[in-house]
């Protein structure tokens, strides 16, 4: 009997010990709080994206108010304006890391801005988590083990269009319109890589525009005259709407690929004209709140309720707000997994060990998966075609790998 008690005691001690000993903190984490840093363009040329930072802020306010934080710790989301200017991002990132002593940076926005702090963050060994850019270089765990992207990257998306095209229309003549910056060029590279050896013969026209241009009308005319019968439309919302309308108005009817950046029904297709948008092909990974098929979707309903209560100024038709909500939920899960071990190393380890995590505001079948060699959380998208009222998804959930 006595011996039985002793062995029971040993057993209890063995099982209890690891549970108690594991509270570990790095700067920015404590029993009561987790501090997260962020930079967003609340002013300047890209200020339309500032709403993402506001949505994330609202999300963690909800988590603090309704759930008492994450694992009993309140989340402090500290976000500064960098005006989309890289030197300012450097300054603000240093402020967050060195002065505010945040645990890590999350969703810093913009390719140039993130490039500017890329080296610094990895030198300081502070996570630069789920950056808000689709550039391909963030998935490089070997050289930059403290940086991770989130959204599908531009090149992967472009490759998916190219693969679809090679299957459907192998002798196509392609015209490309792209924005003359890192985003446009990344896409263009993806298309060429996806077409492989045929790229040279298939692409008959490449035309670019500047963000500051008033319209892209002349570019569309130029593309039509090149004799292209496939149109890769790599443009941001305002220009996408112009391009769709102009192509229709001059009677150019190519097979029209529109990049995921500009698929919003409310802010692109409606201004372009819904009847002019019929037949567009694109991809998606997130539910568009303005798309009719999600009108009474439970997840989207829940998002609407959240927006109304915690971010009433925010637009219910802006995709960016859905994006911010979904990425914040990804981080929520990462921090949940961290438990009481809130070290920077463990944050990266948990972020890099998500196995098919599903979020209901992502399209059905699209999940978040990472590993120590794979720092690209969302890699799959689904092709879809516009039918005049909403996007119809078709085919399998695809990834370019």
């Amino acid at each position: 009997m006595k011996r039985g008690l002793i062995s029971l005691g040993i057993l209890a001690a063995l099982t209890a010990a690891p549970v108690q000993a594991q509270k570990k903190y790095d700067p920015g984490a404590s029993d009561r709080e987790i501090k997260i840093g962020n930079t967003n363009p609340y002013s300047g040329p890209a200020s339309a994206y500032g709403t993402i930072g506001k949505t994330i802020n609202a999300y963690f306010k909800m988590v603090n108010d309704e759930q008492g934080g994450i694992n009993g710790r309140k989340v402090s989301f500290i976000s500064y304006d960098d005006g989309y200017s890289p030197p300012k991002t450097v300054e603000m990132a240093r402020k967050l890391v060195e002065q505010d002593q945040v645990l890590f940076l999350f969703q810093t926005l913009g390719t140039p801005s993130n490039t500017a702090i890329h080296k610094y963050m990895n030198m300081r060994k502070v996570p630069q988590l789920h950056v808000a850019t689709g550039a391909t270089k963030w998935n490089d765990p070997k050289n930059f083990p403290w940086t991770m992207g989130w959204q599908p990257n531009y090149q992967d998306e472009a490759k998916i269009y190219a693969q679809h095209l090679l299957k459907e229309k192998p002798n196509a003549k392609i015209g490309v319109l792209y924005q003359n910056d890192d985003y446009g060029k990344d896409y263009l590279k993806g298309i060429k890589d996806g077409l492989g050896a045929k790229a040279k013969s298939m692409i008959v026209a490449e035309v670019s525009y500047e963000v500051a241009d008033p319209t892209v009308d002349s570019q569309i005319v130029q593309l039509q005259q090149s004799g292209a019968d496939v149109f890769f439309n790599i443009t941001t919302p305002k220009f996408a709407a112009q391009a769709i309308r102009k192509a229709y108005d001059i009677g150019w009817k190519p097979m029209h690929f529109l990049n995921n950046v500009s698929t919003s029904v409310a802010s692109v297709l409606t201004p372009a004209g819904l009847e002019k948008s019929v037949g567009l092909i694109s991809t998606a990974y997130i539910k568009d709140p303005t798309d009719k098929q999600w009108q009474s979707d439970a997840a989207v309903e829940k998002w609407r309720a959240f927006m109304k209560k915690y971010y009433p100024d925010g637009s219910l038709t802006d995709n960016s707000n859905m994006y911010g909500y979904t990425v914040a939920r990804t981080l929520h899960q990462v921090l949940q997994q961290c438990g009481d071990n809130l070290t920077r190393e463990n944050v990266m380890r948990q972020a890099a060990s998500m196995k098919g995590y599903a979020i209901d505001t992502l399209l059905p079948g699209i999940t978040i998966s990472t590993s120590s060699q794979d720092f690209a959380p969302i890699q799959s998208v689904q092709l879809m075609r516009f039918n005049g009222t909403s996007w119809e998804r078709f085919g399998q959930v695809l990834s370019s790998q």
Binding site: S43, Y84, P86, T115, K185
Partner: protein, 316 residues
């Protein structure tokens, strides 16, 4: 220079040398940027404050200097300290050449011409055929310099002292240049160019030279900023930067050397304060600060201080 002024400068210098040891590395970095901006503002002030030529495009020279430094380091493997005079020389020539045709333009027309330069610069930097050197839209990442000869300073502190040294040299040069014959000639052209011409001042040469020297200062500042920030990209040098420079010299005090320093403090810190007050409308808050400053100190901070000192002298 009066004894009191000299004493003041010595105190300021001692304070500047002690500063990086008492504040955090992040603050040290911020003050490094303040000195970088001060050098740029001094350059613009030579042109606009002393010579009366308005430039809305000095961000372009700042970018030119920054890219010179970055490309020299990235492509030619040049040491960082060598890139600063090189950037200054390139900008001196570029500024002089731009100044020659711009001479025919007066006042607002010159402002427009320089505005065009400022607007065009980011796009020129993205130009495909230059991308080999400029890195195109991706920009250039450069390494941070370490303190040489085993001096026990961390990189931030070393960079601070390096920038301090360059800034000092630039300020002393400007002081030498502006208090003498050249300075008087520049002011004379600003105040009445016909009268200046009648006095035998060659307007054309002086105005072009002022443009060149001004661009050189801004270029040196650009090179310093590239070294401090460790990254250059077209998005860093948009037209807004040029406007901010102009705001800086007006707030600091036109035609004043010390004004460059006040202006630099303003453009470095006030946007941060504004952002902390309101996320929704940081620039509205910035605007309120701006209007407040202009209303309370119509001759800039430097002018207000001068006025205050004069009043005190009268009272005693």
């Amino acid at each position: 220079m009066s004894k009191r002024n000299l004493l003041l400068i010595v105190i300021l210098l001692v304070a500047a040398c002690v500063l990086p040891f008492v504040v955090s590395n992040y603050r040290t970095f911020q003050f490094t940027l303040v000195m970088v901006y001060a050098t740029a503002l001094l350059g613009l002030n030579i042109l606009t404050g002393y010579n009366g030529q308005i430039s809305l495009g000095h961000g372009a020279f700042y970018a030119l200097g920054a890219y010179c430094a970055a490309i020299l380091m990235d492509q030619a493997g040049a040491p960082y300290w060598l890139t600063v005079p090189a950037a200054g020389a390139v900008c001196l020539v570029a500024g002089f050449l731009f100044g020659l045709p711009a001479l025919r333009l007066e006042g607002l027309y010159l402002a427009l011409a320089t505005f065009a330069l400022g607007v065009a610069m980011p796009q020129l930097l993205k130009y495909d055929h230059l991308a080999k050197w400029t890195g195109g839209v991706q920009g250039i990442v450069i390494a941070k310099p370490e303190a040489p000869f085993g001096i026990p300073l961390n990189p931030d502190q070393w960079l601070y002292f390096f920038t301090l040294a360059v800034t000092l040299v630039m300020f002393v040069l400007a002081w030498n240049l502006l208090r003498g014959r050249v300075g008087r000639a520049l002011v004379a052209i600003r105040d009445h160019h016909v009268a200046a011409e009648a006095m035998g001042i060659d307007n054309a040469i002086y105005k072009s030279a002022a443009f060149g020297v001004s661009a050189m200062y801004t270029g040196v500042a650009g090179a310093l900023s590239a070294i401090a920030v460790q990254y250059v990209a077209p998005d860093s040098f948009n037209i807004f930067l040029s406007i901010v420079f102009l705001v800086g010299i007006v707030i600091g005090g036109l035609a004043s050397i010390s004004g460059a320093l006040y202006g630099a403090l303003f453009i470095q810190f006030v946007p941060n304060i504004a952002d902390e007050i309101s996320k929704a409308a940081p620039w509205a808050i910035f605007g309120i600060f701006l209007i407040g400053f202009v209303y309370v100190m119509p001759t800039g901070v430097a002018g207000a201080i001068r006025l205050l000192l004069a009043k005190r002298r009268k009272a005693t």
